[in-house]
């Protein structure tokens, strides 16, 4: 369950950053991304997928969340 910092990059895309693993990549898809919830399975640029129980209301970025490997 690594803690992941999610922030926006210059182009407004979400960046997924795991300090411990030295991993930083753009988020390509989020399963649930509605005005009242955010989360589920998240896929990032290198092809790996991560899971978090949908959070409602959606968090404001940047923020640190705990993800599971999906």
């Amino acid at each position: 369950m690594p803690s992941v910092m999610i922030r926006k990059n210059e182009n407004g895309e979400l960046l997924f950053y795991v300090a411990k693993k030295d991993l930083e990549d753009v988020v390509v898809s989020v399963e649930t991304d509605t005005p009242d919830a955010w989360g589920g399975t998240v896929e990032i640029g290198d092809g790996s997928t991560w899971y978090i129980d949908p959070i409602s209301p959606p968090p404001t970025f940047p923020t640190t969340l705990r993800f599971k490997r999906a």
């Binding site: 922030r7 300090a19 030295d22 991993l23 930083e24 640029g45 290198d46 940047p62 640190t64």
Partner: protein
């Protein structure tokens, strides 16, 4: 020497790896690569931030060096105790040339060495009492210090001293910021982890001290310079450009910085990050906690400065945007004269670099402004994200080496035959004796600043002075010179 093709460079890497035993070869080949613009994720071509191969001579430092030497050390009004045996602090004392203003020994302490000087009995019985006594002594002898950090050296972690407890108790007693830093040298693979630990210590012990306090008057143009260590005055040369364009620089981290600047940083509007490697952690933290955006910039060479000034101005209103244009216009004649003077003398020369956290990619632009070409570069302690950024900056089919060993570096140089090498003091004399012009790119070879427009003029002069120095023709003694030149000498 003509440019190497992709195949030749790959061949060179293989040739160099030849001498290693099977196992070492397998490890090292992942750290050497030929730059390929087609790749945008460095992970697929180079491995970094791994343990060095035992027996191979690495050029890296330790976590204590990353914390005491790099991040905390330059905070001038705090006293940084090198907690442990005397050597770690003494041999690195004042070597980094981070300039500051102040009276050393009275209100600033940058070039002094404070150590608990561990002896056998401290290892056996623990050093906490000694640390407490040391802090008392500091308070008596240097009452104007604004805080203390305890920088752990290897033995502290090994014997399990509780420096946090001592720091807390003494901090309360003297009502000062006393920061225990767990940066024992054996942690991690290089100084890089020391940066991270130091950033975390800033976050946990210093940054939030003035959170509830709004007495500081802010302006909409407040910025902080992060990751500029004021080597030879670098941060000053950067700061004047920012101020001229209308921004207010509240804090410098950490060259010529102070603890109160650090505490005020959460109140700025934008964090400007020069050395990404050593301070991205705290920038990310401030973005999350205080909503302060951060951006990377590059103040080496006019092309990059111009780009960066415009990018910085983007965060602000029109007055700052105009300010940026004004600054660029103001210095144009000045830097154009520098280029006109030195470019003809340096055009087409090839450079190989091997430095630390940001320079292997940041200075490329400055060399290109002078018509020079960087044909090989590498980092002592970079991570993947640094190489992601490097691939774009470097030419296609150039050499990239991570945590290069002394042997590999020498072999590469023999084959690539650069006109100039930029690296550290440990490499300097080897290459000079090989007859290759060399500049120290950590300490600017006792020169500097190199940042900003003012710095560029000095940078260009230094490169010319080194490269075109007449001494390089004199390295072969007369009796070994070819017959032709001998005849010439006899005339």
């Amino acid at each position: 020497m003509p440019d190497l093709t992709r195949e030749e460079t790959q061949g060179l890497i293989e040739e160099v790896l030849e001498v290693y035993p099977e196992k070492a070869k397998k490890i090292r080949e992942k750290h050497l690569t030929v730059n390929d613009h087609a790749i945008d994720q460095s992970k697929s071509c180079i491995k970094s931030n791994r343990k060095s191969v035992p027996g191979a001579m690495t050029i890296r430092g330790c976590a204590y060096a990353g914390s005491k030497g790099v991040v905390w050390g330059p905070i001038k009004d705090m006293i940084h105790i090198s907690h442990g045996p005397v050597g770690c602090g003494q041999y690195s004392r004042a070597g980094r040339r981070n300039y500051y203003v102040g009276t050393t020994g009275v209100n600033t302490f940058g070039t002094m060495n404070f150590t608990s000087d561990f002896q056998e009995k401290d290892i056996v019985f623990g050093g906490d009492k000694k640390l407490a006594k040391l802090i008392d002594e500091i308070e008596t002898l240097f009452p104007l210090n604004k805080g203390i950090t305890v920088q752990s050296e290897c033995p502290i972690g090994l014997i399990g001293d509780d420096i946090e407890a001592v720091s807390k108790a003494k901090g309360k007693e003297y009502e000062k910021t006393i920061v225990p830093v767990r940066c024992e040298g054996f942690r991690g693979v290089s100084q890089s982890l020391g940066h991270h630990i130091a950033n975390d210590a800033v976050r946990d012990w210093a940054l939030d001290k003035r959170d509830g306090d709004n007495s500081f008057e802010t302006t909409p143009y407040d910025v902080a310079i992060l990751g500029d260590y004021n080597i030879g005055g670098d941060a000053w040369a950067s700061r004047i450009l920012l101020e001229e364009m209308g921004l207010r620089v509240v804090a410098q981290w950490s060259g010529d910085g102070s603890i109160s600047e650090m505490e005020l940083t959460p109140k700025v509007k934008l964090n400007l990050l020069h050395c990404y490697r050593s301070m991205n952690y705290i920038s990310r933290h401030m973005e999350e906690k205080y909503g302060i955006p951060w951006m990377e910039y590059n103040f080496f060479g006019p092309t990059k400065i111009e780009e960066s000034l415009r990018k910085i101005a983007e965060f602000f209103d029109d007055t700052i945007k105009e300010g940026a244009e004004r600054v660029i216009a103001k210095y144009k004649a000045e830097y154009q004269a520098v280029i006109d003077k030195y470019r003809p003398r340096l055009e087409g020369k090839k450079v190989m670099l091997y430095v630390g956290g940001l320079r292997p990619r940041h200075v490329i632009g400055a060399y290109e402004d002078l018509g020079m070409e960087v044909v090989g570069t590498g980092y002592e302690f970079a991570h993947n994200d640094d190489y992601d950024r490097t691939i774009k900056e470097m030419g296609d089919a150039t050499l990239i080496y991570d945590d290069v060993t002394g042997y590999e570096f020498e072999e590469f140089v023999k084959k690539v035959k650069p006109d100039l090498i930029g690296s550290g003091i440990k490499e300097k004399y080897i290459f000079q004796k090989m007859g290759i012009p060399f500049r120290q790119m950590h300490s600017w070879d006792y020169s500097g600043p190199y940042h900003g427009y003012d710095g560029f003029a000095i940078f260009a002069r230094d490169m010319d002075m080194t490269l075109n120095n007449p001494c390089w023709d004199k390295l072969t003694p007369p009796w070994k010179q070819a017959a032709g030149s001998e005849a010439l000498a006899a005339e």
